[in-house]
Symmetry: C2
Subunit: 522 residues, 2 copies
């Protein structure tokens, strides 16, 4: 289990993996100055925080589960969005949890909810704390506790006949894969936050893994859930498929801690893939590359990797400097014929596979490796860019293919128009692709006036969210709703459905203690 | 649109496709007498029914939409389960709808619901009327209308870029496929009821098609829904994927007309498959065949057909008389390597592909064709068997692989123990298979005392449902809940989830007019 002293309370991941001051300055000189007007000054890494005294006293029976020290409270104040890190760097910890509770058992969760109901405290469930949408941050006035589930960390039965695993909600990605590996099994679910996020967090937010197609959303792996609500536990039946009315699991998948605390799941696992094949393909234009991806999907091919990077993304993240878009293409399992079929489709759209280079790893392999390394390092680099005075954040959606071109143009234009001096780098990749549409993922980078970073981003985010909504995109494909997406979700979700969710919440959480302000206007 | 005079009001499908008296007697002599103690007498096809006068007067503004003639009312009294046909043959139409309403537009649906609320009438949505679980039959005391959606029968935009179709709820399977065929597209969803069931019925009951693996449940094809509730319309956003909270579509999928009337959907469609390959494989024992199916699925293979017939099923439905189980195996699209891989796995478990016969269609092709023809004729044959005095009905479930052997034994024993004189033929096929478990489908045939058929079946059904529940199976994999499965669902569904569904119903249907008694105890 990760001890909190080792994790960064203000930024991403492990404290000792953050770029130090020298590394930040090198990044500025080598990668940023040619592009962006930055002065090279650095926001310092903050000292340990000083916080107001908690307004709650933990109950005696659960005393060992509660922490009240400032670093633990600070680490549970925000998620890990740009605006979270920027606020923490500026020492803005305006509404930290009064207490952090680390239950070790389902009984502890029941006791914590009972106590919080009686104490009038809000309860914000917390998995790995990697939310980028304000999902673990409380914005109300009442006292509140962060319910950190990371000590519910047991991997139970691993069933080799049914290919399923029983796992508690607080198990992190690496621990789950370590438990499965000796059996030759894998969940095969790798969100970018994999190392620092938990099974329960994935389920509560309907996370999507880095596989581009096929079973990538965690929903697909769920056999059954166990959820503790203020009204009692809820369990679903563990079966491979059922048509017995609306799905119980689907009620809680994506409920973001507002209806109950997911404490355990049965998940489907699979054999570790024996074979993999991957390459990268260069396209003269982005539109042609998009058409190739659409055709690949609609031909029934399901590449495990099918990430389309626009030319700037390709340069920044895959080291490709020829100004062309790159499609990173990979297959697992029975690979040979499928990759060849996909490359034929790419060629029809002007795509050229990167040639193997003599005497060393191929260009394609280098580009794929460069992308993977960049993908995993990206959040640490992001923190360095924030310290250097940049707004740097991502926005994601999904839309029908027929609406993608207009959505892409509108999002890019909206971000640039809302940026200071209208200067912003806006890149786009397709992270996931479906036969009926892509999931585009935009990165926005713009210089910010010190101290105004959060306001600037909030303005850009609002403009971009309007553009997404106006062009038929979902307000979130896989970052979840939290608090930041709620104003736009409230317009996309039918008002009667909102009323149904409110009715569900009244049924399961009549006093409204669970994550108030996420998913539903309190 | 099918005019009701052409459809059988008492039995399956087209009236002129039913087996006539001579055909019934031939069936008895050639196929049944060697096996079962029947006397060969026939229940006559009933005359047109005489019904009590309706207790409702249709509103003047919708008068053209309403029918009150006895044949139309009789045809909407029941679904098409064994117990429905048996009751109709015996002239037991105890609680026919007072009126049948055929709305032509969404506005008509709104008007019908408004009128029914004011009139205190229950409203039972009706697609093609092929429910086998009491889903379209009202068992309450109040006046009621059957809301037949078959005139909401327009196929709207067919979007070739996004591979999607907008379709009204009352479109039948063949009409949808006919509209898609000129575009080279298909929904690829073929429940056994395909010819006589509607898109709206599939969605409301979470139907599964005859493809054995992969996207077989209609849920997988849904981009967006439009639903009319007594409180107003509900629409979901049309996107290829979303993580924006619990899925709106999943709330209505499987709601069986209790929360709203599904009037339209955007569905994902796909290219018609260019290549197909299929064969049949004989296994010395059923356990070995089950293990082969499990291994095929867990190896990542996704055959389009993977129906495993036990020896009696193989004889009755595929003409295989060697006492061996048969696996009907088919792939679509990129087929060659995959079928070879699957056959290798079968060989590891003792499976032998049926050899091609010289100078004619292969044995395998004959067995596959025999099965397909039997599959489509089965409901007509079933009606003939009922006229001959047999109880003949099917029961289906899904369970983890590790529980299948015990479930199979328990269901078989329970059906035989509950049958008259403990004599029943109980066969099993696997209709669908998942990496984590199969969906077994049992057929029960037993002679019945004239007039006692329904009581006898109800006793068998109760015993079998207990066996399923006790052995970890869902009470329904794809027949839905309706009224017949409700007592067992009430035990499998967590009571708090039942309360959430009740709260959803109160929100959308506060007077409780929609399909009372289905899915929820009224």
């Amino acid at each position: 289990m990760a001890a909190w002293r080792e994790r960064s309370w203000w930024g991403w991941g492990w404290a000792d993996s953050a770029l130090d001051d020298d590394a930040c300055r090198r990044l500025a000189e080598t990668s940023l100055r040619p592009w962006l007007p930055i002065d090279g000054s650095l926001l310092p890494v903050p000292d340990d925080p000083v916080l107001p005294a908690p307004r709650l006293i933990p109950p005696s029976i659960l005393r060992e589960a509660f922490a009240a020290d400032p670093v633990t409270r600070a680490a549970h104040t925000y998620g890990k969005a740009f605006r979270d890190v920027a606020r923490a760097l500026h020492g803005r910890l305006d509404n930290p949890p009064d207490l952090v509770c680390h239950p070790r058992t389902g009984h502890d969760v029941v006791a914590a909810l009972d106590w919080a109901e009686a104490a009038g405290a809000a309860v914000v469930p917390y998995g790995g704390g990697t939310s980028v949408v304000g999902g673990v941050e409380y914005r109300g006035d009442t006292p509140w506790i962060s319910l950190d589930l990371s000590r519910l960390n047991r991997v139970g039965e691993i069933d080799p006949v049914d290919r399923a695993v029983r796992v508690q909600a607080g198990v992190f990605g690496p621990a789950l894969e370590q438990a499965l590996a000796p059996h030759g099994l894998t969940l095969r679910h790798y969100p970018q936050s994999f190392e620092f996020s938990t099974v329960g967090g994935w389920l509560a937010t309907r996370s999507a893994g880095h596989y581009a197609t096929g079973p990538t959303r965690v929903d697909d792996f769920v056999e059954a859930l166990r959820v503790i609500t203020p009204q009692g536990p809820v369990e679903s039946l563990r079966v491979p498929g059922s048509g017995a009315g609306p799905s119980t699991d689907r009620l809680f998948l994506g409920s973001e801690g507002t209806l109950g605390v997911i404490v355990e799941a049965w998940l489907r696992v699979t054999d570790r893939p024996a074979r993999k094949a991957s390459t990268s393909v260069a396209f003269p234009g982005y539109d042609q590359a998009v058409a190739a991806v659409r055709t690949i999907l609609q031909a029934g091919l399901r590449p495990s990797n099918c990430r389309l990077l626009d030319p700037v993304e390709a340069m920044l993240n895959a080291g490709a400097t020829d100004g062309r878009a790159r499609l990173l293409l990979g297959f697992e399992g029975a690979t040979t014929g499928l990759l060849a079929d996909a490359l034929t489709i790419c060629a029809d759209h002007g795509g050229v596979p990167s040639a193997p280079s003599a005497g060393g790893p191929s260009v394609a392999a280098a580009e794929v490796d460069s992308w993977r390394s960049s993908f995993l390092r990206a959040p640490y680099t992001r923190d360095a860019l924030i310290r250097l005075g940049l707004v740097v954040e991502t926005v994601e959606t999904a839309c029908p293919w027929s609406r993608f071109e207009a959505l892409h143009a509108a999002v890019t234009a909206a971000a640039q128009a809302a940026a200071p001096a209208r200067v912003a780098v806006v890149t786009c990749r397709l992270t996931h692709a479906y036969p009926d549409g892509p999931a585009p993922y935009f990165t926005v980078i713009t210089p910010a006036r010190r101290g105004a970073e959060v306001t600037i981003w909030d303005e850009i985010k609002a403009a971009v969210s309007e553009a997404i909504t106006a062009n038929g995109g979902t307000i979130t494909h896989h970052h979840a709703v939290g608090r930041d997406h709620l104003p736009w979700l409230a317009r996309q979700r039918d008002p009667l459905v909102t009323e149904v969710l409110r009715a569900a919440k009244r049924t399961l959480d009549p006093r409204g203690i669970l994550n108030p302000g996420a998913l539903l206007d309190p």
